[in-house]
Symmetry: D2
Subunit: 342 residues, 4 copies
């Protein structure tokens, strides 16, 4: 059984290794100017129906968030995010390291509430002391969120309208985008996502790649001198082909979405099994992260059986919230084995 | 009538100008090594009964906060503060500019709640993902707070105990410290303050000086190479005498506390008058900032009469919170004139 | 005798203290929006024949350099300066603290050589690896330089032409500008200086003020949201009147240039005396800093007589370069006394 | 024929791909805590005879330099490097981005001259204004250098002695370390290197890996909370196994040194051929980068023949310095083909 603790504990979809081998001895221009970068970018632009997109491949999500936010904001601007957003909690201050405040809103189930965002901006920008304050310069959301939830098209549209009203770029962290695209509850296609934000990244590391994320500027809004900005931040990888080739593979024949759908099929199997066994879900997660409220004694029992899950938080004196993740690599037999142990 | 909008709208206590004149043609070593710096430091150490204190004079409060927090924290640490703290709201991201997160707690009436701080740290530091998170490296409070409230000795003691338990230095922003020391409700002497924190600054600009704050490290904990750290941040003033001489004057014959007490006498006069006239106080402020909930129509009337106050925030559809400040320079006749206009 | 060690060891021109007293109890808007700021700006604009200028008053030179360079450069840009420039040597890395490289050119007598600058930019920008390199984003010079030398109008014109050719703003550090304007060797008026650069500051601290420098954007090129940028960097002084009033005084009735001329008269008296006594000048300084190559034994003799000068550098085994500075406050009797001791 | 332009234009040594495949479906702890990280670290410690070493695997050289320098220096410190050092020239200001000055010394053939370093530090630290200046906090060298040259054991020993005398850690950039170890002219073993510096990295990307460098702290001097410091800088890779596994392979059965030796054999073949054909070497490079002074017309001829080299710099009106690189992947037939085209 593979681990259900999270979705980046095994290697990559085998097609990637195959192509790495096939292309290994090719001479390719370094620093992101290889032919696979161009090719993968074309495939992503096509899949996203976004001919104006500008695309770079980077090594990881925190790095990508830091790069995008740090290079887009003016020095006195901050980024608005949900309190549970990855940039707010789990990047060890990577955004503040670039000099910017994460302006945290309460959120609901991991999502920014469109009305709350609109109201926050209206009130904040009307403050008489605004010139003494951090000024909002961008809005950050994750799709799916850190809690596995999804923005609906209506919600995303409302958020983007607020962003446009105030001239704030909307940036979407798609670390697990494949699992959004593979969810039955998702009503936002890749092309729609592209039209409803300014910048986003397509997660590779958590969705079938070895390493890498595809950063997409949706309408010619890549900062000028972006290569040098990346170089200065240590983001440029000499053999960029290692990153780009993976996205070339993932965006060939719809593999990226296929992997996401497969993981979701496994998640449905798991959640049905959990419910059948009387487990209580912490929230109705529409994606590959499934949060369960479990008795502490039961949790210890699972640990004793070597069932590999993530501890999320204490629920009450007697219960804990734990997380099971499926991924592109999860097999039906893995889920069955897990259920048999629960 | 002088303005009641805030406490830094007139010049300085006349004794300062007199001494500036008397000493004008003296040759004094530059960059903070003048004889007045040494002399003022001695006087402050005596007034605070803190022989080990290390003291520097800087130009302003935001600069001072930025300097202290930025030079004390390790790069991955943040500073814990109340949501209403100056560093959290009104410094345009000066702390984040140095690379650090302001970790905001809800607070009550502008103060960190000792129990909440203890609970926050207990839970936060127990998080299984702590190495992926900003780590608390300092606690920041203001005395008096931005809302004019005061920590009691019991509260400050509890907060400091929590800080020591977790090895976090406690830093007190004393921009308006004179008005705390002058308040009847205050039960913390300067010497006690000194023993109950690691670093604080004595506000000059808002308490009778032209420009300048006295930064005090209470027990030999000034960072090494602090001069160079200040120089690098643009904080060092060539003619440091301009700052130090003012504190030399303020700490001669108890002038600093006298000015604070006078301002508080004026505040009591004002608040008694306000209450007598039926005005509703927003909170029971024990210091020189008095917050009044006023009908919007009444507020407009005051404006029309050229009464100078600060807008704080909308209270409800029909009311607004406004602020009146007394200061070291407020005269009884000013208060009477103000009351007659209300 | 006052010290000849440097030009910021005594207080300020008495007219300033007088006005501080006269205006002390006036209510003035805080944070740089006082009426003296507006008034001083008008006077400077008139003196500089520069109606489009935008002016702010800040506390010190290093802070000002850091502010200007840090807010003008894009993150991947550096500032070109002479190796001896203040930003390159004596600001403890204040520029690097803002994230930017000081790109040092050799220079001659403390000045950037116009031809060298042009050649440096031509070659550097033609480098095939330019996108992997820091890119020049500004040129910094000092007038007078740190060695007391002056750019001629021809030199400044040539440098500014190169800057314009490459789209680089030219920034002039005028910490001692008064002594340039007061020098017989100077052929650049304040108005011409204004037309031959993009940004400069008029030194107050070293030229007769207590504290403060006037930062001038010559043609509407002040960064947007500049107040907030300053606030974020801790540069904003609550009682801005303390800074602005001094420039209001200095730019009334040509006082600033008068003080500079007086210091230069004293410098000429000194240098004539030195030469008459057979002292060897290190370079022909046209301003108030006079560098002398002195025998080490003689230097010790001066020290024993309490003559106060600056050590600059070892010249050879037997000689040292020392500096005498005159200033706005130097009296003829001071110079005579000094000469009598030499 | 593969390209001779540089040494990171093809993929990786096939053993790596093989192991990636074999281990692909293994569940491994994320974020650098995988079993291969531990295993590779052990192998490196053994190869370097350095049992106290602490090792992390990172994605690239610029990132690694930025991480090491930025986390080791105090904010007012700078790093001393040769003018030609990678950190000084080709990282787009990555070091300054972290707030630190690169203190550039002239150097000779790309190397810091031990006597010059000692003299620089002696004079600089004796400067009377040192508290107003950036203070040296680390020394950076590359082995081999950016010009392909090597420090001898005597030189490295002298440099390290100077570093220890002044308490400065010595950091060695080993981006191409494999080619140093493989050179006949090298007299410093990996174990000796380890004893003669405080921190170094073993280059993977340019020496046979797909992506990754091994950062080695030689004697327990890894900064505390280093994981969080890396996380904050975006350096942590979720699937750290991708980096560590490569070093596990490279340090199995001496593969790393074998690859270096092979590249050097190819370099010797090339340089002998070049000399035999009468080409003039720009300097006697003992490693895999070979610099040739070539007539411009000849250079154009080579271009026309699709010979792939690097332009380095203009030599004089008629000549250019170009570079040929061999690498772990270069075949004898590639060199022969190249020579036949020259």
């Amino acid at each position: 059984m593979i681990s259900f603790a999270t979705d980046y504990l095994v290697g990559c979809t085998p097609e990637i290794l195959k192509r790495l081998e096939e292309t290994n001895m090719e001479v390719q221009t370094a620093y992101g100017y290889d032919s696979y970068a161009a090719q993968a970018a074309e495939k992503i632009k096509k899949a996203a129906d976004c001919p104006d997109a500008q695309i770079w491949f980077v090594s990881g999500g925190t790095e990508c968030n830091q790069l995008v936010i740090g290079t887009h904001l003016k020095s006195y601007q901050g980024v608005v995010a949900a309190k549970t957003g990855h940039v707010a909690v789990h990047e060890a201050g990577a955004i503040e390291y670039t000099g910017h405040k994460v302006m945290e809103l309460e959120g609901r189930d991991g999502k920014l509430v469109p009305e709350d965002l609109a109201e926050f901006l209206r009130v904040y920008l009307a403050d008489g002391n605004i010139t003494h304050m951090v000024q909002p310069g961008m809005v950050y959301i994750s799709q799916p969120t850190e809690l596995g939830t999804l923005y609906s098209k209506a919600e995303l549209t409302a958020i983007y309208e607020t962003c446009r009203k105030y001239g704030l770029p909307l940036y979407i962290d798609g670390a697990r985008l494949g699992y959004a695209l593979g969810s039955k509850d998702n009503d936002i296609s890749l092309a729609e996502l592209c039209r409803l934000c300014d910048i986003f990244y397509i997660g590779g590391t958590k969705c079938g790649a070895l390493i890498g994320e595809a950063l997409v500027f949706t309408h010619g809004n890549m900062p000028s001198a972006f290569f040098t900005l990346m170089k200065q931040r240590g983001v440029i990888v000499a053999k960029g082909r290692v990153l780009s080739l993976q996205f070339d593979v993932l965006f060939t024949d719809g593999l990226y979405e296929k992997l996401g759908r497969h993981a979701m099929d496994m998640a449905y199997l798991l959640v049905d099994g959990l419910k059948a066994k009387g487990y209580r879900m912490y929230l109705d997660s529409p994606t590959n992260q499934q949060f369960v409220v479990i008795e502490n004694s039961k949790m210890e029992e699972l640990r004793a059986k070597n069932v590999d899950f993530s501890f999320i938080e204490r629920f009450d004196d007697a219960h804990t919230v734990i997380r099971f993740c499926t991924c592109w690599a999860t097999q039906e037999s893995d889920v069955e084995e897990l259920l048999s142990l629960l």
